[in-house]
């Protein structure tokens, strides 16, 4: 197979190979495929459920942080510190009546939340949690994320359209146009990172960075900082987060494209949104902030196995978990910033939104693309810190 994935990670472990031989012997056919399928299925199941959990926790975090910013208590009744609030909400959602508006287009009403969910959760397949535990290190991972996540736009639009309500319709239109528009600067920023990393694979990009901030792509050169800002703003707009939450602007459109949705359908939308925020924060972390890289190579097998002296299998597993920890830390910090922005900045108008996209972000992103390309050409792809250190070393060498 051409791509590294979670199966290939496990298949290198001796217990996996032993189990495989035993099963082949017992069942009298080559069970490698079946084993791979089972392992992959289990891994995917775990990832999806964990992400759903994280999405639920996202709603909790949102409420808690907003309460903190607004000097309130926030949810604090269900469980310790109200931690189980999202479970209670989930139960409430399931118990609620599933209302289907009479004039709605039933088929589209049905598939719209699903499209959103599919689009978001399909991106999880390439999200680089760690070097081993990623579902797949697809060789066109970044491109895949862009393609699949555009399903969300379709879902939002159909959700708005199928409700047969003017609020929903306006919200859906706003959402779709906003997502399409902001894809341009976001894609241009991502392309710059792809140039720096040298591939469309997330693994390649992450491996091109280091564990320490000066090795991250965000601080690679001055242009990348701007690129990160553009990407982050575009990311906010793509996920319909404040200050770009026009599709679901409460003060104007009741609740935007999901006004007519109740129960689990609404839950799907909400979940998709929070998970998508997590995903794009992860992508930002992977592209700009070193992804799953851990400082000082603490997670590497070389360090854990040879220097610390742990056995092979535990060392690998500990390394992977350290990487996951690094990735999730960065992602959650970004997540916090997103929520913080939501409760800080007022909402934009539609024309301001479009002006920002087409008149500012897109030209800036184009300029950045050219600038980064020139930087790569001039300095052979080295970061500015490297250049500084080199000149410093050269100066030192003269003494």
């Amino acid at each position: 197979m051409m791509n590294d994935n979670v199966v290939s990670f496990f298949s290198e472990a001796p217990p996996y190979q032993a189990l495989n031989e035993k099963l082949t012997y017992l069942l009298n056919f080559d069970t490698r495929g079946m084993m791979a399928f089972v392992v992959y299925f289990v891994a995917a199941f775990v990832v999806v459920n964990v992400m759903a959990l994280i999405g639920g926790l996202g709603t909790y975090a949102e409420r808690k942080i907003s309460a903190d910013i607004q000097m309130r208590q926030g949810p604090n009744r269900v469980g310790p510190f109200g931690l189980l609030q999202f479970l209670a909400d989930g139960v409430k959602m399931i118990m609620k009546e599933d209302i289907l508006p009479k004039a709605a287009d039933k088929y589209l009403f049905f598939i719209a939340p699903i499209l959103c969910m599919v689009g978001v959760f399909a991106t999880l397949a390439v999200l680089p949690f760690s070097s081993g535990f990623t579902l797949t290190h697809l060789n066109i991972g970044v491109f895949y994320v862009l393609g699949v996540s555009s399903l969300v736009g379709v879902g939002i639009f159909l959700g708005g359209y199928s409700s047969n309500s003017k609020w929903s319709m306006l919200g859906g239109m706003r959402g779709a146009s906003q997502i399409i528009s902001y894809e341009v600067p976001v894609t241009l920023s991502i392309i710059a990172m792809v140039m720096l990393g040298g591939g469309l694979n997330f693994q390649t990009i992450v491996d091109g960075q280091g564990g320490l901030p000066h090795q991250w792509f965000i601080f690679h050169n001055p242009f990348t900082i701007i690129s990160f800002v553009v990407f982050f703003i575009g990311m906010l707009a793509e996920t319909n987060r404040a200050p770009f939450d026009l599709p679901e602007a409460e003060s104007e459109l009741v609740s935007g494209y999901h006004t007519e949705f109740t129960g689990m359908r609404f839950a799907f939308f909400a979940l998709a949104e929070y998970v998508e925020v997590f995903v794009v924060c992860g992508v930002a972390a992977a592209l700009y902030l070193g992804g799953y890289q851990v400082p000082f190579g603490l997670s590497s097998l070389e360090f854990l196995h040879t220097k610390v002296g742990l056995p092979m299998a535990p060392a690998r597993m500990i390394g992977q978990f350290l990487e996951i920890g690094g990735f999730v830390t960065k992602t959650v910090l970004l997540y916090y910033v997103v929520i913080w922005i939501r409760w800080t900045l007022p909402r934009l108008r539609v024309d301001q939104l479009m002006t920002l996209c087409w008149k500012y972000l897109t030209p800036i992103a184009l300029f950045n693309l050219v600038g980064i390309a020139v930087w790569i050409y001039l300095f052979n792809g080295e970061s500015m810190w490297n250049l500084v250190f080199k000149t410093g070393a050269a100066a030192a060498g003269h003494h």
């Binding site: 197979m1 051409m2 495929g33 399928f37 287009d105 088929y107 589209l108 598939i111 697809l138 060789n139 066109i140 491109f143 895949y144 862009l146 393609g147 699949v148 555009s150 399903l151 736009g153 379709v154 639009f157 159909l158 359209y161 319709m169 239109m173 779709a176 146009s177 399409i180 894809e183 591939g199 469309l200």
Partner: protein, 178 residues
């Protein structure tokens, strides 16, 4: 096994979606069926070791064309299937009636016969060789685009720019200043 599974599911998506596009009585629904077809074709590209093509298919069609179609349908109220126009003059229903479907079926049948006549010989004509292994195509396509096919690449970029400007120009409503 996994290849076969992927192929079969993609083929099913594609063909079913296409048939649904033909038969759907609702244009909006037909558009979503087209979406499934496009995703299925994308899957077929994957089985053909055309990974970049598959992703491009997703980005361009799902992210662009289908949403454009949906927008256009919504803006033109194209979802109605009334068989009279705004002046009350009777005409063929926009989504077709029995007559048009008969005509279409006939034409499709003729076309099918011809095409079947062509592809009946393909299996015999193509040599049975060992298929190359799956490998990444992005780098090679990139190289080809800026070496062998650079002219087509530039022309298509100019075409896209022209299409962009032209579409914006055409669709802009003209202000009536009297």
């Amino acid at each position: 096994m996994f290849d076969n599974f992927l192929f079969l599911s993609s083929a099913a998506l594609t063909v079913c979606g296409a048939l649904a596009v033909v038969l759907a009585p609702n244009l909006m629904h037909a558009c979503t069926y087209l979406l499934t077809t496009l995703i299925g074709v994308s899957g077929l590209y994957v089985t053909l070791s055309a990974d970049f093509l598959a992703a491009t298919q997703l980005v361009v069609y799902v992210g662009g064309v289908v949403i454009l179609m949906l927008f256009a349908i919504m803006l033109t109220g194209g979802n109605d299937n009334k068989s009279v126009n705004k002046f009350g003059i009777e005409k063929v229903a926009p989504m077709g009636n029995a007559k048009t479907f008969t005509l279409a079926g006939f034409s499709a049948l003729i076309m099918a016969l011809v095409i079947l006549k062509i592809i009946a010989n393909v299996n015999k004509a193509t040599p049975k060789t060992e298929l190359p292994p799956y490998e990444t195509t992005v780098e090679k396509i990139g190289e080809l685009l800026i070496t062998d096919h650079v002219l087509a690449f530039e022309i298509s970029s100019v075409l896209l720019l022209g299409a962009l400007i032209g579409a914006a120009l055409i669709a802009r409503p003209r202000r009536r200043e009297e």
